[in-house]
């Protein structure tokens, strides 16, 4: 469990990125921070591994304040996956994955064996172990990034817009893989995105943020969709327009769901068709 308590972050130039932020992130679930640029979502994420220190307030992991922990040790105990993979370009894939275990003093042979297993876990062929990141596709690089994040077997995995730079088909694939990994490995995942569809797909808990990391709404995707807390949320998730504002329409062939433009968006299945 990660708990934000009255956290404020003021940057030296006077920008207030986060103000009086309170949130509990449950263990072994995916929590997604979603918001537009400037909503402070990445700042919130980076505060968890002390890449950014709060100006005020406290963050606790399982009841212990992270401020009392040494940043380097804390970061090694938390997995981190970033956009554009952030792999070291001069390290082979295998050396990228073993970076953190090696820093932690795991013997090389053991670290390499674990890394090869992790390549299996994230759906990569072991044959790419000796390649360099620049020889991989964007999707493969991102998978290596996830393998590196998991290498030290952390309880917490931070993912900062990890799929922002890959094409939509690969992104959909990686999103499914993330869900599969979460089910298999039972990690606490904190995920940052600006894509509300991604947030609803992945999140057990979705946190919609307004400017200054003001929480517009927290809840499961269903709760948020069923009852948007404000016009901002309704607008952000698109229930007031477009594809999420669906209505039933009877046609000669049967009943379908249409969006606000009257275009077909899907059908109702199961017992509710008569509704």
């Amino acid at each position: 469990m990660i708990e934000f308590r009255a956290v404020t972050k003021r940057f030296p130039d006077g920008t207030v990125a986060v103000e009086d932020f309170n949130l509990v992130i449950p263990s072994r679930k995916i929590t997604v921070f979603v918001g537009s640029s400037g909503s402070g979502k990445t700042t919130l994420l980076r505060m968890i591994n002390r890449m950014v220190d709060p100006t005020d307030g406290d963050i606790e992991i399982d009841g212990d304040s992270i401020m009392s922990k040494e940043p380097v040790a804390l970061r090694r105990s938390i997995g981190y996956v970033m956009q554009n993979s952030g792999l070291l370009p001069h390290f082979k894939v295998i050396d990228n994955v073993t970076t953190v275990p090696m820093l932690n003093g795991v013997p090389k042979k053991q670290a390499r064996e674990q890394a090869l297993e992790l390549l299996d876990t994230v759906g990569l062929s072991r044959s790419i172990a000796d390649r360099y990141p620049s020889q991989l596709s964007g999707g493969q690089q991102q998978r290596v990034g996830v393998a590196r994040g998991l290498a030290a077997n952390p309880n917490i995995l931070l993912m900062d817009e990890p799929f922002g730079a890959v094409d939509p088909i690969v992104r959909a694939e990686l999103q499914q893989e993330t869900i599969r990994l979460q089910h298999e490995l039972d990690k606490t995942i904190v995920f940052v995105t600006h894509d509300i569809d991604e947030a609803f797909l992945l999140g057990d808990q979705v946190v919609i943020l307004e400017k200054g990391a003001k929480i517009a709404q927290v809840g499961s995707p269903n709760e948020i969709m069923a009852a948007p807390a404000s016009d901002f949320v309704a607008n952000f998730i698109g229930t007031d327009r477009g594809k999420r504002a669906l209505t039933l329409k009877k046609t000669e062939a049967g009943t379908i769901l249409v969006d606000s433009e009257g275009r077909g968006a899907g059908v109702l299945v199961g017992g509710s068709e008569s509704a």
């Binding site: 890449m51 090694r76 981190y80 956009q83 993979s85 070291l88 001069h90 820093l103 620049s134 020889q135």
Partner: protein, 250 residues
């Protein structure tokens, strides 16, 4: 054309290996001044450049220094240092080498900090985020990726010092410049041109060697990106900037 033929004849005459001024001895002195000065300059400039590149502190100072030092007249600098330090053999050597070191520092400093500065910030951020210490970031990430530009700085410095070391002869310290300063009052143009050709050739050879080293200094994964089996073009900036360090400065 005659001058040139005479100069070449002078250069390849068997007498060049004899007497009080054999070319091998003077070449050795010349190379000693060059490498000793570049090494001393590197010992000063590389740590400083790494510090500036890693922390970003003092960057303006480094840029200013590199630019200003380009305008230093090397001849005047040597004479000034001789006046300040003294005229015994040891003092003369100290003065000359100090001048060469001062000339070599800016290029090396610029190469060292520009190399680190050219490393993709996101790569450094990722290295920090996975838990590398600042030392580990410097030695495992920034230095290897910045190495080609650092070598470029050493290359520029060596080139400048090997040319300037000619002036050592003016204060009686030998080196290949001795033929020029000896030939000048005697109007022996074959000797002056011949030795100038030799210095130019030496500079070209050293530059060629550094060009090779620079090629090998590009980390494998970074050069691998240019191989044919690349599937997608990476949008990341390469750590190796296209321009050598000496051209990056204003």
């Amino acid at each position: 054309m005659n001058f040139l033929i005479e100069a070449v004849q002078w250069l390849f005459s068997p007498e060049r290996l004899e007497g009080s001024n054999p070319i091998p001895l003077r070449l050795e002195e010349h190379l000693f001044y060059t490498f000793f000065s570049v090494i001393v300059a590197a010992l000063i400039a590389i740590p400083l450049g790494f510090y500036i590149g890693h922390t970003g502190k003092g960057r303006d100072f480094a840029v200013g220094l590199s630019g200003a030092a380009r305008a230093l007249p090397s001849f005047g600098l040597i004479l000034l240092l001789v006046l300040l330090i003294g005229v015994t053999q040891v003092q003369l050597q100290l003065a000359a080498i100090t001048a060469f070191v001062l000339l070599a520092i800016p290029s090396i400093l610029a190469g060292a900090y520009a190399g680190i500065e050219a490393v993709d910030r996101r790569v450094i951020d990722a290295a920090r985020a996975v838990g590398m210490t600042e030392w580990q970031i410097l030695w495992k990430v920034e230095v290897p990726l910045g190495l080609p530009l650092l070598i470029g700085g050493l290359r520029a410095a060596t080139l400048q010092v090997v040319a300037t070391a000619t002036l050592a002869a003016y204060v009686g310290l030998g080196g290949l410049g001795i033929y020029i300063f000896r030939g000048l009052p005697l109007q022996r143009y074959d000797e002056m041109l011949g030795s100038a050709l030799l210095i130019a050739a030496l500079a070209l050879v050293l530059d060629g060697i550094f060009a090779l080293i620079q090629q090998f200094a590009v980390p494998r994964g970074v050069s691998a990106g240019r191989a044919k089996d690349v599937r997608t073009s990476s949008t990341r900036r390469r750590a190796v900037a296209a321009k050598p360090a000496q051209e990056r400065r204003g």
